[in-house]
Amino acid sequence: MQDLKLLHEAVLTGDAKSAKAITEKALAEGVEPLKLVQDYMMPAMSEVGRRFECNEYFVPELLLAARAMKGALELIRPLLTASGAKPTARVALGTVKGDLHDIGKNLVAAMLEGGGYEVIDLGVNVTPEQFVAAVKEKGANIVAMSALLTTTMPAMKTTMEALQSAGVRHQVKVLIGGAPITQKYADDIGADGFSESAAGAVAIAKKVMA
């Protein structure tokens, strides 16, 4: 049996090749898929988030770790689905209508996946109707919206109104983020949570789902 701490290390250092190889071997040796995720990969991504918050890690290191996590998760996810294991929550994530920026959204997706969340990435320029559809048709528990521009922020409020009008607002928690977004704006539009950074998004998601 190999040392599974190496999986933690591989994700933490963004070594995608090793993360995948260790996961493959561990699964072949009969290690529980959920154990790999919960005991090694998620703690590794949590540490990545901590280092990012402390400016010990920067965007390149975060992206590498996320890629390593994703590669290993691709091997594990079918097994988890087959076993009936549920994700922590299902997040419908997108950059709001009129805004075509995606790197911030992609970083949030990576961190949420690393935190055990299933992410439905709706992409950029996502209309309020698309967010509503993700809740109704795909069972999203969280709607997460990103905006980079001050001129596209109002689309977050429009989406909140669309969720309300569609009668699904009570079914979901709404998180928002992006360069111009503040806690005050989140409060003003009635969002459930706001995060300053990609790493902080996981903690906020956990808090609102508690």
Binding site: F58, P60, L63, G98, L100, N125, L149, T151, A179
Partner: protein, 400 residues
């Protein structure tokens, strides 16, 4: 209509108007950290703002904020595309257009949306990036010929067949202090391979990527040299465009930035200074971790100092004194509220930074379509009313 779309009026006289020379003296005095007659003011305007401003103020379709407000400086952009070639149109409808540019990026521009989307990149592998060879940085077409180029053409607006840079410079010179400009490596990488690939490859292969950065750094240094030579005697200063930070910190570690990015900024700044041109560096985001480096490079002024990234010009003045000038930092989100009381507070507070010179009043990035024409009108009036030296700000005085 886009941010770099301002062309000068037809040149009817030789030389520069006395008012232009006065504006140049105002700008240069401020950049020398001395007090001119009043605080210089200018900005970068979204095409969407200009249209709104024209409509709200009942101005003709060719009205331009630079001329209307007699603003104190303007920036021009030559063709900085790695490969000089026309856009290749991949899709075009009345609502949107998709083109491949001289950076090899596939750009989607929806005319209703303020900013374009980069969908894909011709240079889509590390090997292709390492193997890429750009056109001559000193190719005269960059400065003396019209044509498509991504920086001028695909942004807040969409414009084909940009006029020759040198003609734009000459046409603006009678009325404005005119700056040339160059992008630095970070801005090139975003367009050439996408920001995510750039970051990923820096993390994956830091030294190999460093070699690429150095090669591209040399390319843009040579392009800057050629631009300064092409505009010899016509330019009043030089802007370096380079975004290396986001809301929280630099994208890459300060150590990596210092190793590979900073030396090229320093070389361009040194060359500009050797040619008698002051340098304004434009970099978004929170750059506090590397701000001292810009002081060390003798950058004359830092722009835009985004409030949403935690930058505050008064805090910076307290920390750095007059070791560097500042350009910007007036909170666009306050401007967008249209609330005159809040705007007055914002504008007058920031004017404290102009005491002793060393400050050019601008927004903390650019004037968006979220700002009303009346609001901008009010802001210019405030700066003109309260920006006279000696500056007296009454209730808004702050000790620095």
């Amino acid at each position: 209509m886009s941010m770099f779309d301002t062309k000068g009026h037809p040149v009817t006289q030789d030389g520069r108007k006395p008012n232009t020379l006065k504006k140049l003296a105002r700008l240069n005095t401020a950049l020398r950290h001395q007090e001119p007659d009043r605080v210089p003011i200018s900005d970068f305007f979204w095409g969407g703002f200009t249209k709104r401003w024209q409509q709200e103020l009942g101005l003709p379709a060719d009205a331009n904020p630079y001329y209307y407000y007699d603003l104190d400086w303007i920036v021009t952009v030559p063709n900085m595309d790695p490969w000089i070639r026309p856009f290749e149109t991949l899709k075009e409808t009345p609502e949107e257009v998709v083109v491949k540019t001289g950076f090899g990026s596939i750009m989607h521009k929806h005319f209703e949306f303020p900013m374009p989307e980069m969908r894909a990149w011709e240079t889509d592998s590390f090997e292709k990036l390492e193997g890429s060879r750009f056109d001559d940085p000193a190719d005269p077409r960059r400065f003396f010929a019209g044509g498509d180029n991504q920086i001028a053409g695909v942004g807040d607006g969409f414009q084909r067949d940009t006029p020759p840079w040198i003609e734009t410079v000459k046409s603006l010179r009678p009325d404005f202090p005119v700056y040339g400009s160059i992008i630095e490596v970070s801005e090139c990488l975003t367009r050439l391979i996408g920001q995510q690939n750039a970051m990923l490859w820096m993390g994956e292969e830091p030294e190999r990527m460093g070699a690429v950065i150095n090669r591209i750094g040399e390319f843009y240094f040579q392009l800057a040299r050629a631009e300064m030579a092409a505009g010899k005697g016509l330019l009043d200063g030089f802007v370096i465009w380079g975004d290396v930070a986001y809301k929280k910190c630099t994208f890459m570690s300060p150590k990596y930035w210092r190793t590979y990015f900073k030396p090229w900024v320093a070389k361009i700044a040194d060359h500009a200074h050797a040619n008698g041109l002051p340098v304004i560096y434009h970099g978004c985001g929170n750059v506090k971790a590397i701000f001292q480096d810009y002081v060390d490079m003798k950058i004359d002024a830092y722009n835009p100092l985004e409030v949403k990234a935690g930058m505050d010009v008064l805090e910076l003045r307290r920390q750095y004194g007059h070791a560097i000038g500042f350009c910007g930092n007036s909170d666009i989100q306050v401007w967008e509220t249209g609330d005159h009381e809040a705007i007055r507070h914002e504008v007058l507070r920031k004017l404290n930074a102009a005491k002793g010179g060393g400050y050019i009043f601008q927004s903390d990035h650019s004037v968006s379509s979220g700002v009303s024409g009346r609001t901008y009108d009010y802001i210019v009036k405030l700066v003109r009313d309260f920006g006279h030296y000696p500056i007296e700000l009454g209730d808004f005085e702050e000790r620095l």
